[in-house]
């Protein structure tokens, strides 16, 4: 009787222990499988969402060229099919990596993509599309978080080897390889120390070259003294369908300069602001300026499109209260570069650039939520896209905001 009782007690105890152990084992296997499924599902959603953004122009179709908020979100260029994105829709996205700037004369905060001195893209907050709006329009609000980066595939970096005579090394690279034997088209804009009356004048020189096996080429300007002139070099590099943009500038004076701000997409106006009113500085002074607009033509050369005098092509601006800003009107919705030369005195001058359409200066775009280091799983997918012929790579990172009920 006692032996039988002990037998029963031992067997029941062992049985219960075994059952608990196996439930735990099976549970772990099932949980792992469920997690795999959920991660796989997240990857599918990421791919679908990226396609949804890239292959849909949104509504209205031309929302990137207006001040309106779209009722459907998409970045495709409405004039094309496939993975071609609108340079203007991208321009209206809130750049999440930049620090917004405030301009008191318009009373507006501006989304800020600034790639070093003189390369500005500042878009007023009342005309940008922010992350929460996009998430709502995409139907993923409070379900998924995302971060979208659209970066140029081709990097064109320019460095000064020698200033007099000016020698510049142009290096062209892709994401994984230097671009050997790439065609290079360039435009050198020089601010003249004299001439042009009260406003700064400039000259333009165009040329072409070819990169060597390491993806580099040296551009030499024999009669040009890089120390005594302000200049900007804009380079387009292209090989077998891949196109990239780079730029390099040298200014003789940056105590006061022009800051171009997007004024209005509908009317294509750009606000010409004084730097002291935007970034302050240590030498505020009245400056004169001369604005021009360059288009990238189909043969990868830059073509000047005149701005009418009546639209504020030239003028003077000053800092502080009672000194109004000026406006210029871009004559077209074709992407290009706004180039503004400025001058305080004959020897104190410089030049700043602003892209009209994100692609013309190959500006990157980062849009979305901050990267979630606390999330259990983040998936990423990429597409190669064209933005007005410039090759970009679009990368979407996606994570679930719901979390997973994982035990153990």
């Amino acid at each position: 009787m006692t032996a039988s009782t002990i037998d029963h007690l031992v067997s029941v105890t062992v049985f219960l222990a075994a059952i608990l152990l196996f439930i735990s084992l099976f549970n772990q296997t099932i949980q792992t499988a469920i997690l795999y499924q959920q991660h796989r599902h997240l990857a599918t959603v990421c791919s679908d969402l990226l396609d949804n953004m890239m292959l849909n122009p949104g509504y209205p179709l031309n929302w990137g060229k207006t001040n309106s908020t779209p009722t459907s979100f998409g970045l495709q260029d409405p004039e094309f099919t496939q993975y071609r994105l609108s340079p203007f829709s991208l321009m209206r996205l809130n750049y999440s990596s930049g620090t917004p700037v405030y301009y008191s004369k318009t009373g507006q905060y501006y989304s800020n993509i600034t790639i070093g001195f003189g390369k500005f893209l500042l878009v007023p907050f009342n005309e940008i599309i922010n992350y929460s709006t996009a998430a709502e329009l995409l139907g993923i609000n409070e379900t998924y978080g995302f971060s979208l980066t659209v970066t140029p595939i081709v990097t064109v970096s320019i460095s000064e080897i020698e200033s007099s005579p000016l020698k510049l090394e142009v290096s062209v690279k892709g994401t994984g390889f230097p671009l050997a034997n790439a065609n290079v088209s360039y435009c050198l804009i020089t601010v003249k120390a004299s001439g042009g009356g009260p406003y700064p004048s400039y000259t333009t020189d165009y040329g072409e070259s070819l990169t060597d096996g390491g993806g580099s080429t040296v551009l030499t300007f024999p009669s040009f003294d890089g120390n005594s002139e302000s200049y900007v070099l804009i380079v387009y590099a292209h090989i077998s369908g891949l196109v990239g943009v780079g730029y390099h500038e040298h200014v003789r004076y940056d105590g006061s300069y022009v800051v171009p701000l997007i004024g209005d997409f509908d009317s294509k106006t750009v606000v010409i602001a004084h730097s002291w009113d935007v970034h302050q500085g240590d030498d505020p002074a009245e400056i004169s300026y001369n604005a021009t607009f360059l288009l990238l033509s189909e043969d990868f050369t830059l073509r000047e499109v005149p701005l009418e005098n009546s639209t504020g092509k030239v003028g003077k601006i000053n800092y502080g209260n009672g000194q109004p800003f000026n406006n210029i009107t871009i004559p077209t919705y074709n992407p290009g570069i706004v180039i503004i030369t400025y001058r305080k005195s004959a020897q104190e001058n410089g030049v700043v650039l602003m892209p009209w359409g994100i692609s013309s200066m190959a500006f990157p775009v980062t849009f979305g939520s901050t990267y979630p280091f606390d999330k259990e799983w983040v998936v990423t997918d990429i597409r190669q896209v064209l933005v007005n012929s410039i090759a970009y790579q679009a990368r979407l990172s996606l994570w679930s905001l719901k979390g997973y009920g994982v035990i153990g």
Partner: protein
């Protein structure tokens, strides 16, 4: 002791079950759990490389051409560094073997444990692909004649910015490929001939399509500038036109504005102006359209000057026409302004004029039809059949003749026969296969 042994046996069985279940429950490798969509990446890479048709140009070059090396550089440069690729170009040909590889390059021996591919069919820039339109009515034998009114002795109205002659030429260019014969009616005398069922160039007058390029005005032959056609400011002429449309089973097309509002003949109306200072033209008024519709329905003539038009404002192309727009490659603006729309009362009740709308060019707005093809039906031996048609675009000036063309094509639906894309030597298939470096 026996119970303990039994439990041990149970544990062994459950362990066995767990092991067997684990063997069958094969979980995917980590790389497959959250993968890059390599297929899409490959496709978009090919599209990027072909963005300026460079890829299309390269794949038709000789195998030793330097463009291949440039293509490989571009491909290597645009893919992430950990990506392995193989690009193969196939010649597309007929016969037993459809695809023959002609060139391939890769950056690795193999494509790793998993890979995916996308393909793109590219066409040679040396090849011209032709499109042959079907002739309207050709399948019924005989075909349909297109008459475009190009009368030199008439003036147009509400075709501001154009002349009837320039519109006629554009219409000829757009529509003549779809018709067996296209004839420009050069003067009102020729119009009088076809109204009398006399062919101008041996064509078939019956079943023709007539496009009036004069807008709200209609050319009138001298023979019709008299009684009884002159009654009620020539409303009776419109009635006669309606009868001819019915008699010859024509499709009468009005390209803009209020149809049949004026008649024009520069010789006969040299001292008459249309109410707006244009001599050579006489104003009929709204009664012209009402008379035409009565004539089309073979009703007795009576003068009705009631203005029946409506002004719905901005109107939009119907889905049917948007589809046709893509098919025929004619792309007018999808939104237009309509201030001369016809009322739905001309089709409902049906007994009013026995008209049915076969094609809505624009979506109706409330009780207004901004643009539509109306077909008139008669009953012959108990069978209802189409006899005479009317296509009216009640838009505001100035006319867009692409809408006229698109409406007719949508209604008649001629097919387009495109040449083969897989003709030997004209197409090549580019396959890009991608994998990721590293193990599982």
């Amino acid at each position: 002791m026996m119970r303990t042994i039994e439990i041990l046996l149970v544990i062994i069985i459950i362990t066995g079950a767990f092991i067997i279940a684990s063997l069958f429950a094969v979980l995917p490798s980590p790389r497959q759990v959250s993968p890059l969509n390599l297929r899409r990446l490959a496709l978009t890479t090919l599209q990027t490389l072909d963005g300026d048709y460079d890829l299309s140009a390269t794949v038709f070059k000789a195998n030793d051409d330097s463009a291949w090396a440039q293509l490989q550089i571009a491909l290597s440069a645009c893919l992430p560094p950990n990506m392995i690729y193989n690009l193969t170009v196939y010649e597309v040909q007929g016969g037993a073997q459809l695809y023959t590889p002609i060139k391939s390059f890769s950056n690795a021996e193999s494509l790793g444990v998993s890979s995916d591919a996308a393909s793109s069919l590219v066409a040679s820039s040396n090849v011209t692909f032709s499109v042959t339109p079907e002739k309207i009515g050709g399948s019924q034998g005989g075909g349909v004649t297109l008459y475009i009114l190009n009368c030199s002795d008439s003036y147009g109205w509400w075709i501001t910015g154009y002349t009837a002659q320039s519109l006629a030429q554009d219409l000829y260019n757009l529509l003549s490929p779809y018709f067996t014969k296209t004839i420009m009616v050069q003067n009102t005398a020729q119009l009088g001939q076809i109204l009398g069922n006399t062919s101008l160039q041996g064509e078939t007058v019956q079943n023709a399509v007539i496009i009036n390029t004069f807008g709200e005005a209609v050319p009138i032959p001298t023979a019709y500038c008299k009684s009884p056609y002159s009654a009620n400011s020539y409303a009776n002429y419109s009635y006669a036109l309606g009868q001819k449309v019915l008699l010859y089973n024509w499709t009468w097309t009005s390209i803009v504005g209020y149809p049949f509002y004026y008649v024009s003949n520069t010789g006969n109306f040299s001292s008459i102006q249309n109410g707006w200072g244009i001599y050579g033209m006489n104003q009929i008024g709204p009664g012209g359209l009402n008379a035409f519709l009565r004539g089309l329905d073979n009703q007795s003539y009576s003068y009705d000057p009631t203005d029946i038009k409506g002004s719905p404002g901005v109107v939009y192309l119907s889905n049917q026409v948007i589809d046709s727009s893509n098919y025929y490659g004619i792309y007018p603006s999808q939104s237009q302004t309509s201030t001369r729309a016809l009322p739905t009362s001309i089709i409902s009740p049906y007994s009013t004029y026995h008209l049915k709308v076969t094609t809505y060019v624009f979506n109706p707005v409330d009780n207004w039809i901004p643009g539509a093809v109306y077909r008139h039906f008669v009953t012959v031996n108990g069978t209802s059949q189409n006899q005479g048609s009317f296509y009216a675009l009640g838009l505001t000036r100035t006319p867009d003749i692409r809408l006229t063309a698109l409406g007719l094509l949508t209604d008649f639906k001629p097919r387009l026969y495109r040449s083969e894309y897989t003709v030997n030597g004209t197409s090549r298939l580019v396959v890009l296969q991608l994998g990721q470096a590293g193990g599982v």
